[in-house]
Every structure is written in C-alpha cells, then in structure tokens.
C-alpha cells in the first residue's frame, strides 16, 4: 500500500530496503512481533482487564512477553513512536 502510493511520487532511497511485515518469508521481526502481540492482546483483553491493571499492584501476569525492539522514541505529544 505504502509503496504503491509512494511510487507516484519520488521514492526515498531507503525504500529500496523496505520489507513487508506481512509477506516476508523471514521469521517475524521484532517490530512485527510487537505489532502482532499488541494486536492479539488488544483483541483478547477485556475492559475489565484494563481497569484492573491501573493502580493495581496485583495484576501483572508473570511470563508476559517483553518487547525486544531497540528503538529511539521521539515523543510528539502523547506518543513515543517506535523506531
């Protein structure tokens, strides 16, 4: 999607190295794994899970996977973008 749209304009040099996280034959990247995990968690977690977690000292689930991306974060307002 991104590549098709950008093809109409002038592509950055780095686009030569863009890799699809959906179509890649490689094992999932850290970024892909993170995105997949977040998606799956958001599908599987109820509102109750969220409300229990905030302010609670007892809701952390041991063994929960930890993200492994090595990234710079540049906050703009709320968000720290994953790099």
């Amino acid at each position: 999607m991104v590549t098709k749209r950008a093809t109409a304009v002038r592509l950055p040099f780095l686009s030569l190295f863009f890799e699809s996280v959906c179509d890649s034959d490689e094992a999932p990247s850290a970024v892909h794994a993170l995105a997949t995990k977040t998606f799956n968690e958001s599908k599987g977690q109820s509102d109750r899970d969220f409300s229990d977690r905030a302010l609670s000292t007892k809701t952390f689930k041991k063994g929960q996977p930890i993200e492994q991306d090595t990234d710079i974060s540049a906050p703009t307002g709320w968000e720290t973008e994953i790099v």
Partner: protein, 321 residues
C-alpha cells in the same frame, strides 16, 4: 508515590510495576490510553491553594503526592467510536493539556524521563555530534540529499557502507498498523545507479563497522549496565541485531572501559535524561563506537534473559532526589 505513565499494552511497564510492587514502594499506574476511565479534578482561585487529584476504581491520588514519574510510552486516550477525526484530535488535545499541565505543574515530581528531554535527545545527527563532544567515537557518517555526495562517500569507503533511517523504522498504513519496516542494511556497488533517489529524502550513510559485538548500554542515573549482544554468531543479525526477532541471540553482561562509561554518563546527563538505552559497537580492533541513544528504549528483555538489575537501578533512581 511513583507514577508509572505509559499505556495499557506496555509489557515493560508491567514488568517494572511488578518489581515496584514487590518492593512495597507506593505507586500508581497511569495508562494514558485509559484516561477516559479516570476522574480528574483541579481547582484554583485567588483565595485558595491549587488542588488537583485523579481517581479510578475508587482509588484517589493527589497530584502533589507524586514524587517521581516514570514516563514510559504514553499513548493518546481511547475515545468513543463515531467521532470525526477533527473532533477526536481536539478532545485528545484537551486531555493532553489537562493531564500534561497538571503532571507538570501540580507536582514536583522527578521525571524519568521528562518528555521535553526525550524529544530533545531524539535526533540522530545531533546525537552523533554530542556523543563525539562527550568523547565517544562515532563512525564516519553523512546525511545528505546529494546523490554525488553519497556516491563520493560510498567510493571513499570502497562501498563498505550501511544505510539506515534517521528516525523510526516502521512504515504504518492508514489503519496505523505496521505495514513495512526498514532495518540497517549494507550497500553494494550495484546500487550505484539508484543513488539518484537520495535527492528525494535526506538519507543517512555510515561506514560499515567490522563488529565484534553489539552492545546495549543502559544508563540509569549514575549507573551504566552494559550487555553484549553476540550478533556476529548469526548471519542474519550481523548487520542489524534486531532481525529475526533476536531469536538465538546470545547475551552476556560486560563492563565497559571507564572512559567509555563516563562518556555515556555525561552524554546522557547532558540531555537532562535519567534513563537512556545506548547502542554501541565493539569492533574487531577493540574500539568502541557510538551508534545511537534511545531515551525510551526497551530494556526489560535484558533483565529477563541476562539478569542485569535494571529494575532495581530504575527504582533507586526514581526514589532518589
């Protein structure tokens, strides 16, 4: 009270929260994507002292109770469906100004890290300049929109060059899901004809280092915890250690030379950061090279896999003046 400011999907914040809980340190988790579930109250007038508090799930916290804030990865609040993009943006702005204003103004909290400091530390060219000024070696690097400059640089280094993004490596689609990614990649001469594309966007080229190991140095206050990533043991991780989800990566704790450690501490401090995840390379000649600094970088997986005491150092940092 320590505030853990992040989002409800942040597993690293959960990991740290469990540690804080076990230490019996009072804390409050503030997931900004859930701010709609919080009740917020602020009152000020000529004849009364300002008061500010928030509550959730029958728990109340005064803002001035917050001694420290661990600013992890806040995200915009989740808002009801059906709002127009314009109205959604406006409501998010109102939330941000209310909460941001009170966290900044109604507390004397120590921020680890303050978002302004994070923002200031998030520009790779500036990082390289600053790192060098603080005594850390930096690889020969250019950022250019000139194809001829790029070509000359590649030729000067006999095309032993890597290219990588200046900022983030995710290209998100309209639904804000990650559609494509870009890692650090090695160039070769066959790409010479494509260098004209450099004119389309600033591009960072860097001399390809002959790595012995990658190093992740996590600075917390005056502590520096370094872990070697033995990235050269697998071909897929040799250039960018994040590839293949770091499956099979071997790690080991290491001690950096004092001069390197001191440079990293002063570099981090110069940004008014209390926390930084710094990527280094030890080359095959025994030299240490700075790659980048991540003000909100990941760290929990290192504690899980290597046992380095980052949680303890972070908590100590938050609890100290």
């Amino acid at each position: 009270v320590i505030g853990i400011l992040s989002n409800s999907q942040d597993a690293t914040a959960n990991f740290f929260q469990e540690f804080v809980s076990r230490s019996n340190t009072p804390f409050v988790r503030i997931d900004t994507d859930r701010l709609g579930d919080f009740t917020l109250n602020f009152h000020i007038s000529d004849d009364r002292k300002a008061s500010a508090s928030f509550a959730i799930d029958d728990q109340i916290c005064e803002f001035d109770e917050l001694n420290a804030l661990y600013y992890r990865r806040p995200k915009p609040p989740s808002l009801p469906a059906g709002l127009s993009p314009e109205l959604r943006a406006w409501i998010e702005s109102e939330y941000r100004r209310a909460w941001g204003g009170l966290l900044e103004g109604a507390t004397k909290a120590k921020w680890v890290n303050h978002p302004f400091a994070i923002s200031a530390a998030s520009y790779k060219p500036e990082q390289l300049i600053r790192a060098k000024n603080h005594g850390v070696a930096v690889p020969d690097t250019i950022v250019t929109t000139s194809p001829s400059t790029a070509r000359s640089f590649c030729q000067m280094h006999d095309w032993d060059i890597v290219v990588k993004p200046l900022g983030y490596g995710e290209i998100r689609n309209d639904g804000q899901e990650v559609g494509q990614v870009v890692y650090t990649n090695v160039l070769d001469r066959s790409l010479d004809p494509t260098l004209s594309m450099v004119a389309n966007c600033p591009t960072l080229f860097q001399k390809h280092l002959s790595k012995e190991i990658d190093i992740r140095a996590t600075v917390i206050g005056s502590t520096c915890i370094a872990v070697a990533l033995h990235s050269q043991e697998n071909s897929f991780s040799a250039v960018d250690c994040r590839r293949n989800d770091m499956v099979g990566m071997r790690y080991s704790p290491i001690v950096l030379p004092t001069s390197v450690r001191d440079s990293l501490l002063s570099l981090t401090s110069s940004y008014r950061l209390y926390f930084a995840a710094i990527d280094l390379v030890l080359d095959r000649e025994g030299s240490y090279w700075f790659l980048e600094l991540n003000p909100s970088g990941q760290w929990a997986w290192l504690e899980q896999l290597v046992g380095v005491p980052i949680c303890a150092a972070l908590l100590e940092c938050l609890c100290s003046k």
